[in-house]
Symmetry: C2
Subunit: 404 residues, 2 copies
C-alpha cells in the first residue's frame, strides 16, 4: 500500500506538551505530513518532561516528547521576531491544517490568528486547543491537566464509589487525561472539518475547549441534574451490588456480578457453595440488601487466587472481570501482545524502544509509524531550502540571527 | 448553511449502551444520517439505564438513551430471525458506515460480519467496537466500563497522588470513561476510513479495542517502563511540590504552584506574607523539601476563601487553579454558559431539556442537534417503506411476525 488515509494532508503544528502534539500525531499516524515548529534553542516544553531514557534528563531523550512527536518533521522558528512570523506565514500558504495549543491572547498579539491566515490561505483549517475555548469570560485563564480535569467536573466524580461523598475529597485520574481527551476530540473535529472542506471547498477555524472535551464525557451526573434529580457526584460504595474490587493473592481483581446472569456465573465458578442456596441470594434486590456479608464471603474465596488465574476462570463463566493491571501487567498482557499493540520505534538518542500503537486496526493498514520524533531543528534544511526555496547561505544567516 | 461536514454519509448503527451509540452520535451531530437498529419490544439496554426523567424508570425517558441517540432515526429489526437478517443486508447496501458494539462471536454466528457485507457493498466501512478487539486470546471476553478502565491500566494509576502506592487500593474515575474514550477514538478512526475511501474508493473494517483506547491514553507509566525505569503507577503525594487540592470554605480548589513563576504569583495573591522571604521558599527544590509546612501555611490562608472567588483571584496572578466543580458548578459556570455548551433538546416524553453540546466550535456551524432520540421503532415506516419499498401491508405483516 502506498497511500494512507490522510496522505494528501499537510499539517503545521505549533504547541507545547501534549494536546496539540498528540492531536497532530494521531493524524500523522494515518499518513498526514506534519511539520512541528519549535522555538530555537529550547523547543517544546515536553523536551524537559520525563520519563527520560535511563532516567537521565536530556532534551532529546524525553519520553513525553518522543512519543507525542513521532512521525513528524521538526523545524525551529522564532515567532517572537517579525522575520520569523513572515516565514511562518509562508509556511501557512503550503498548509492544509494548522494545529496549536498556545494562549489565544499571545497568538493574536503576534498576528498569528485565523483571520490573518484565512486571507493568505482560504482553504486553511486551523484547530486551536485551549483550556476554556476562544470565547467567554475564562478564555485567557490558565490550566494544566489537573486543573482541566476538575474544571470539566470529572474530578468530583472520582473515585466512583466512596463511603461518604460529602466528606471524602475528590481525586484525579492518572495520566494526562484532560490533555488526551482534548487531543482525541480535536483530531476527530479536525477530520470533520476536512470532510466539510471536501463539500464546500473552504477551510475554517475549529475552536476546541479542554474543559468541554471533559464535560462532554461526564454524562450521568449532568443528565440527572437536568432531569431535575438532585446533583450527583460519586456513588456510595455498596449501592451497586457486588461490583468493584476484590483482593487477590497478588493484587486486585475487578468483578461485576450484580445481575442474575453474572451472579449465577460467579456461583458456578465458586463451585456453588452451600450458602448460595439461601433466600437472600435469590434476587438482585435482596443481594444488594445483604451486600456486606456477601462481599465478605466472596472476598474470602478470592483471596487465595492469583489475579490472572481468577480472571481466566471467571471469563469462562461469563462473569465480567479483570485483574487491576499495573503497568507491567498491561505491557505483558497476551491480548495486547497478540494484537501487536506496542510498536518498536528506533531513535538515534535512545535506540529501538517500544511505544503504544493505535487503538484500532484498519483492514487496510493505514496506521503506520514511519519515523521517530525529530531532534530539535532536524528538518530545517529540508523544509526551509526544499519547500521555501532558501539557499544554504540564507539558512546560515537565519540561524546566526536567531530566527531559526 | 444547508450542508454539514458529514451530510453525505449514511450510517447504520446496531449497539447497546454507550460506545457504538456515542460514536454514531458524534458523527450524526456533524450531519451524517444515522439509522439506529433496535430489537423489537425491548430495544437498546440503555433504555433501562438511568438517570430517568423525574426519577421514574420508563424506556422512553432514560437520560442515557436520550443523550446518546439524539439526531438519529430509529427502527426495530429482529436479527435473530433470518427474515430480519435479510432485511438488514438490504439496509447495508444503502449504507456508507456500519457501527456496532455487539459480541464478535455472535455477529459471526448470525452472518453479520465484514466479509459477508463487503461482498454486497465493497464501499462499506464497518466499525466494530469491542472490549478487546476482534483478534487475540481475549477477543470473546466480556467487559463493562469498570473492567475496561482497569484492563487498560488506567485504574492502577488512579488516584494520581497517594500516601502509599503499595497498600492503597486503586480506584475508577467517574462516568463511563472507557466507553466514551472508545467512542471518541472510534469516531476519529471511522472518519479516517472515510478519508481513505475518498483516495482508494474502497471501504474497510475498523476494529476498535476498548482496552487499547484506554491503554493509548496512559503515557507516562508505559513510557517509563519501556525506558527501563521501574514500573510506576501512582505518585506519592508530596513529590509534586504544592500541587493538588486545598480546602476552601465551600469545597475544594485545585492549585498548581510548583515552579517559581506560579509560586511567586501565589505569594503575590496572598499579599506576600512575611514567611515567604524565608530561605526555604526561594527555590523549587527547597520548597519541595518543606512541602508539608508550606501546605499548612497556604491551607490556613485558603480556608477562609470561597472557591470561585479564590479561583478568580489566582487567575489574575497567573496561577493555574480551578475550583473542584460539582455537577451544579459545571452546569452553571459562566464560561460554559457564555459559549452555549449546553443545548435545549425537545422530546415528546420529557419536554425540552438541556444536554451537553460539542467540545468544539466550528467557525462554520457544522455541529447541530436536529432531532431528539427516536422512540422505539419511530422511523420504521419511513425507512422500511420509504427506503426499502415495503408496502404498509407488508410492514404490518413484519410487525405481526415479530420481525420488526
Amino acid at each position: 500500500m502506498t497511500e494512507q488515509a490522510l496522505s494528501d494532508l499537510k499539517i503545521l503544528e505549533y504547541g507545547h506538551l501534549a494536546s496539540a502534539a498528540y492531536c497532530a500525531k494521531l493524524m500523522a499516524d494515518l499518513g498526514a505530513e506534519v511539520i512541528k515548529v519549535e522555538h530555537p534553542g529550547t523547543g517544546d516544553d515536553a523536551r524537559r518532561n520525563g520519563p527520560f531514557y535511563q532516567d537521565a534528563p536530556h532534551p532529546e531523550r524525553s519520553g513525553m516528547f518522543l512519543y507525542y512527536n513521532m512521525n513528524k518533521m521538526g523545524i525551529t522558528l522564532n515567532l517572537e521576531v517579525s522575520t520569523g512570523r513572515r516565514i511562518f506565514r509562508d509556511l501557512i500558504k503550503q498548509t492544509d491544517i494548522f494545529i496549536h495549543n498556545m494562549p489565544p491572547l499571545r497568538m493574536e498579539e503576534l498576528g498569528l490568528d485565523y483571520e490573518t491566515f484565512r486571507e493568505i490561505n482560504p482553504g486553511l483549517i486551523m484547530t486551536s486547543i485551549t483550556p476554556y475555548g476562544l470565547t467567554g469570560p475564562h478564555r485567557d485563564y490558565k490550566a494544566n491537566d489537573l486543573v482541566a480535569f476538575h474544571s470539566g467536573g470529572l474530578g468530583y466524580g472520582t473515585p466512583t464509589f466512596v463511603e461518604d461523598p460529602e466528606t471524602q475529597p475528590p481525586l484525579k485520574a492518572g495520566g494526562n487525561q484532560a490533555y488526551m481527551a482534548a487531543a482525541v476530540a480535536a483530531a476527530g473535529a479536525t477530520m470533520g472539518a476536512v470532510l466539510a472542506r471536501s463539500l464546500t471547498g473552504e477551510g475554517q477555524h475549529v475552536d476546541l475547549s479542554q474543559q468541554e472535551a471533559l464535560a462532554y464525557l461526564v454524562r450521568p451526573t449532568i443528565g440527572a441534574y437536568f432531569y431535575g434529580n438532585p446533583p450527583r457526584g460519586r456513588t456510595i460504595a455498596d449501592r451497586l451490588a457486588l461490583g468493584g474490587l476484590f483482593e487477590c493473592e497478588d493484587g486486585y481483581c475487578s468483578i461485576s456480578a450484580g445481575n442474575d446472569r453474572f451472579w449465577n456465573g460467579l456461583m458456578e465458578a465458586m463451585g456453588n457453595p452451600e450458602w448460595s442456596t439461601e433466600d437472600i441470594c435469590q434476587t438482585q434486590e435482596s443481594r444488594a440488601q445483604h451486600v456486606d456479608v456477601l462481599r465478605i464471603l466472596i472476598q474470602d474465596w478470592i483471596k487465595g487466587w492469583k489475579k490472572h488465574e481468577l480472571y481466566d476462570l471467571l471469563q469462562k463463566h461469563h462473569v465480567p472481570a479483570f485483574p487491576v493491571n499495573r503497568t507491567n501487567d498491561v505491557v505483558n498482557t497476551p491480548q495486547l501482545r497478540d494484537r501487536g499493540f506496542f510498536v518498536q520505534v528506533d531513535h538515534p538518542e535512545t535506540g529501538s524502544i517500544l511505544y503504544p500503537g493505535a487503538p484500532h486496526k484498519f483492514s487496510d493498514p493505514h496506521w503506520q509509524i514511519k519515523r521517530p520524533a525529530p531532534r530539535l531543528g532536524e528538518h530545517n534544511q529540508e523544509v526551509y531550502c526544499g519547500r521555501l526555496g532558501f539557499s544554504n547561505e540564507e539558512l546560515a544567516l537565519l540561524r546566526e540571527t536567531g530566527v531559526i
